[in-house]
């Protein structure tokens, strides 16, 4: 099947600026191609959804963008500037929520957040203020002294989102952040982040295999076996491809195998 990702025109280009431009990105684990010649634009102030089944290359792309993997080939430009691997300016503007929880279960919510603030060089006073702001927005301020171990899955995710936003990044990446959560909690999290994009101009990269988390106005990239297959606004893609929902596009890819 030919990739249609490169040829699609999208309303995105008219309404949003490109925050991160990925060109010709390749990555292999030994002999296994995880990403092949990937071109992808992440739009500023939008909830960018990265869709794909397990093994599509979402987590590999995520780890490349987080600086945990080194690109073997290809270029990344952040706000038009080429970024080197582990560029400090880039990492300082990046908030990350990993698929597996990275909170310290033995420490309290506040201790976890203070630790993260210190990693970004925030003073005690700044950290306290930012922690209160983020926890207030997430309705979690009253749990600040509770050990993380005592929180439920949804609350732990909220703490991780608060943590990732503490240093006021321009770009927030979340890797399958709703895995293991119930439908209503998933809905709350995606609604919250859509709201942050709208209110604060935050750019979100949301990797998922759960199609129902995507809203019609969201820019979407569908990855399949390490290749970009479709990209564009969710509603636009459905219309252009003559399907009733995004799910059908993924089913078409799987059937063509």
């Amino acid at each position: 099947m030919n990739s249609r990702a490169d040829t699609l025109t999208s309303e995105c280009q008219n309404t949003h600026q490109v925050l991160l431009n990925i060109q010709g990105l390749n990555f292999q684990y030994g002999a296994l191609n995880a990403l092949t010649g990937l071109n992808y634009q992440i739009y500023s102030g939008a909830f960018n959804a990265l869709l794909g089944a397990n093994g599509a290359g979402k987590s590999t792309l995520f780890n490349l963008l987080a600086g945990l993997l080194k690109p073997q080939q290809g270029e990344l430009h952040f706000q038009g500037q080429p970024i080197r691997h582990l560029n400090a300016d880039y990492l300082a503007n990046l908030g990350i929520v990993f698929q597996q929880s990275t909170l310290d279960m033995d420490l309290s919510v506040g201790q976890n957040l203070h630790y993260h603030a210190s990693l970004h060089g925030l003073s005690r006073k700044q950290a306290k203020q930012r922690i209160e702001e983020e926890l207030t927005r997430l309705n979690l301020l009253d749990r600040i002294k509770d050990p993380v171990r005592t929180l439920n899955g949804g609350h732990k995710r909220r703490v991780e989102i608060a943590r990732a936003l503490l240093h006021q990044p321009a770009f927030l990446m979340l890797d399958e952040a709703t895995v293991g959560l119930d439908l209503s909690t998933r809905q709350q999290l995606t609604d919250y982040l859509h709201q942050r994009c709208q209110d604060d101009g935050l750019t979100v990269l949301w990797t998922t295999h759960l199609i129902e988390e995507i809203q019609p106005q969201d820019p979407v990239l569908i990855l399949y076996k390490g290749e970009a297959k479709y990209s564009g606004l969710s509603a636009e893609l459905i219309q252009q491809q003559g399907v009733t929902e995004l799910k059908q596009l993924i089913q078409q890819l799987t059937r063509a195998e």
Partner: protein
């Protein structure tokens, strides 16, 4: 607490983040805050894990109180620097047991780094904007600081079994212990960078901790090893742990063993460099994906 129907607290929606790209310039204060944060986390974790403190103490105390009591009748220690007179076996092995506390602490820290690399919390550390070398050094130094309360608790108990160095020794041993802890931490980190999976770590440690400890001057003076054979003596002499023990032994009695200090410093710098350049977060991430 508000009901969970929506996460966004409307009352707080006036707070706005500034999502504009900002250049990162933490200054010295920023580096200090990062180091302080890493150290505070290590201490908080240590306080949470009381069993770790107990097991760190019980191991050397068994050696000091049980093993040394049995051996003092068999093994006499003649007059040798830094001791000015004949000493009991307990007195002889106390510095080696201090080094043993540091050794186990350092290897446990290396183990936790392998665990963190696999389970994720190391990713948080490695995706912050500070240089990776600085972050790893901070983590090693924080772990070294965590070893200090264990060492002083051991020395306090040892005082009651007639291990009573001069007061100045209690102060002089602190920088020596920190340096040794960084050296052993760097060795542990360097070894851990070659370990692909957590399960392999325990096996590797058996080939590191025990040979390092037994092939050193921790339990018996080097001249005893010389009597046992030249090869064994050469191995003990080449073992960095021997020089760590001697540095601690002399400093505990308020003296400086310059040769040990220079060797420990050189080995620390060498292994720090090797550990930092060979630390690769990709190892944990690529697990199981190559096939």
């Amino acid at each position: 607490m508000m009901p969970d129907s929506t996460i966004l607290n409307p009352a707080a929606s006036e707070h706005k983040t500034s999502p504009l790209f900002r250049p990162y310039n933490p200054g010295i204060a920023g580096y200090w805050r990062t180091f302080a944060g890493i150290t505070q986390r290590e201490f908080l974790r240590f306080v949470q894990q009381r069993s770790r403190f107990l097991s760190a103490l019980i191991r050397p105390l068994l050696w000091l109180i049980v093993f040394a009591a049995g051996f003092r009748a068999v093994l006499g220690v003649s007059i040798m620097p830094p001791y000015g007179t004949y000493i009991t076996y307990q007195v002889y092995i106390a510095p080696g047991l201090v080094a043993m506390i540091i050794l186990f602490n350092a290897m446990q820290s290396a183990l936790s780094m392998v665990y963190d690399r696999e389970m994720g919390s190391m990713k948080v550390l490695l995706t912050c904007p500070q240089p990776r070398g600085f972050l790893l050094f901070s983590k090693l130094l924080a772990n070294a600081l965590v070893a200090l309360p264990q060492i002083y608790a051991f020395l306090l108990i040892a005082y009651f079994v007639d291990v009573d160095p001069p007061f100045i020794g209690y102060l002089a041993v602190l920088p020596a212990c920190l340096l040794v802890a960084i050296m052993l931490g760097a060795i542990g980190l360097f070894i851990s960078s070659f370990i692909r999976q957590l399960e392999n770590f325990a096996g590797v440690m058996n080939f590191v901790i025990f040979p390092m400890f037994f092939l050193s001057s921790a339990l018996y003076p080097l001249w005893k090893m010389q009597e046992a054979g030249p090869i064994l003596y050469a191995i003990c002499n080449a073992n960095p742990f021997t020089h760590a023990v001697e540095l601690i032994r002399f400093s505990l009695y308020g003296e400086l063993d310059l040769q040990s200090l220079l060797l420990v410093c050189s080995i620390t710098i060498g292994f720090l460099f090797l550990a930092i350049i060979s630390f690769d977060p990709q190892k944990g991430l690529s697990k199981g994906k190559k096939s």
